[in-house]
Amino acid sequence: MSSKIILEIKNLSFVLNGITILEDISFRIMENELLSIIGPNGGGKTTLLKLILGIYKPTKGSINFLEENLSIGYLPQKKSEFFDFPISIYYFILLGRYKKPFIDFNDDDHKKTKEVIQRLGIENILKKRLSTLSGGEFQKVLLARSIVRDPELLILDEPTSFIDVKSQNEFYNLLFELNEKMSIILVTHDLGAISTKIKRIICLNKKITFDGDINTNRDFVMNKLY
């Protein structure tokens, strides 16, 4: 892991309709680091992601990226049924390469899309409809869309919620491979779903209650979490 800071969050607070959702959050993520944020439901994990993604604006504090236009990939927490939409899986992934109005997808965009499809081994599902994909297949399609733009930071919100244990292991192996090229923030509410290969975790329950290596003291983390 390099010592280059990709993202720095300082004294971040977020209040919505008079309720404090996040309070005084500070942490950094380095280049090629894999950080997992865990916490109970309602602990502010998804809100924190939405603040990083720019969907919400902080009430206090700051979120600074290494570069002004840092490329971010995002895998939302959604089931395939949500996308009962008439679009081919190929085009769904290609849309992840969107740049701006008036600029159409070029040869590079198509080349990259095909490359990602091959890498994730999803060529055989391209003819299916999105809404009919299994949990594991759909997570791979969402992952493909989020990495097709070659992000420097990949953010995943509960990516293993809807998939079985075998697919979870497969999914984690893919993430570790991707981590060689990008920083990753992985959010989950289930400590059991986190691979033992992940070292740094942040426990979030409105405030940060733990930030460090989970393997040093798993019981301590469990106490901090719940």
Binding site: I55, F83, F85, P86, I87, L95, Y98, P101
Partner: protein, 269 residues
């Protein structure tokens, strides 16, 4: 030969243009799950049409600014007082309709307009209506096909579209302006009630068959043209009102399609 009548030639031309326009607007209305809002806009437009009749101005030209101002104002109030969108649409729906009827009531002898604007009257189309329809169609075609990626992305995954940098406020405004304009210029042909069916039925069928937006739009056009011409033929042959005949044809087709799809699913198992 019935086509020798000029009013029928104009009606068929209007239905042709109408089918193209409704196929584009309807695709996105259904994909964005906005059929209820489009119904609200149609009924708000009825208020504007009534105002036009009351002020002795061209009702279509009065309906455009009236609908835009009326719906924007109510959505603003909804946002300000945190009223859910579906409740606001219900208010727009009934208030627009009520205002239209009150305006028409003030103008003695104009209540006959009511049925015309509810179910449309394609046989009363004139050159001005066709020109307006054509202009709105060209504008819609241009904007939708230039920004097809943006409209598709926002319909598919609104949040992710914003994350990748699509200006959702700008495209929502353009979308809202286009569907409002489209709905208003289509009202004289199909009326408030039939408009909703026209925007909904064809996309509900094609979105189950295709995964390509251009094919969806093309086959919506073919279906809408089939619905309208068959409806027109039935109304002419049996001396029935055109709008309700079109509604019956389209809904019957939809029911047959759904039965066929369900039968195929059971058969494939």
């Amino acid at each position: 030969m019935i086509l020798q009548y000029k009013f029928l030639q104009l009606s068929i031309l209007a239905l042709f243009l109408y089918s193209i326009l409704s196929s584009i607007i309807g695709s996105f209305v259904v994909l964005r799950k906005m059929t209820y809002i489009s119904g609200g806009i149609s009924h708000a437009a009825f208020g504007g049409l009534g105002l036009g009749v009351f002020l002795s101005l061209n009702p279509i030209l009065t309906a455009i600014p009236f609908t835009l101002l009326f719906t924007s104002f109510l959505f603003f109030i909804g946002k300000k007082f945190r009223i859910e969108n579906d409740s606001i649409v219900s208010i727009i729906w009934s208030l627009g309709m009520s205002l239209g009827i009150i305006f028409l009531n003030f103008k003695k002898g104009y209540t006959g307009y009511l049925l015309g604007y509810l179910f449309g009257n394609v046989l009363s189309i004139n050159i001005f209506d066709i020109s307006l329809l054509f202009m709105v169609l060209v504008l819609t075609l241009l904007i939708f096909f230039i920004f097809i990626k943006e409209f598709l992305f926002l319909s598919l995954d609104y949040e992710y579209a914003k994350i990748v940098g699509i200006n959702s406020n700008l495209f929502d405004t353009i979308f809202y302006l286009l569907i409002t304009l489209g709905i208003i210029v289509m009202i004289k042909i199909s009326g408030v009630i039939v408009n909703i069916i026209f925007l909904t039925i064809a996309p509900l069928i094609t979105k189950e068959i295709f995964t390509n937006i251009y094919k969806i739009v093309l086959f919506n056009f073919i279906l809408n043209l089939f619905f309208s011409l068959t409806g027109l033929f039935i109304s002419y042959q049996f001396d029935l009102p055109t709008g309700p005949s079109i509604v019956l044809v389209s809904i019957t087709t939809f029911i047959i399609f759904k039965i066929y799809i369900n039968f195929m699913k059971v058969y494939e198992r």
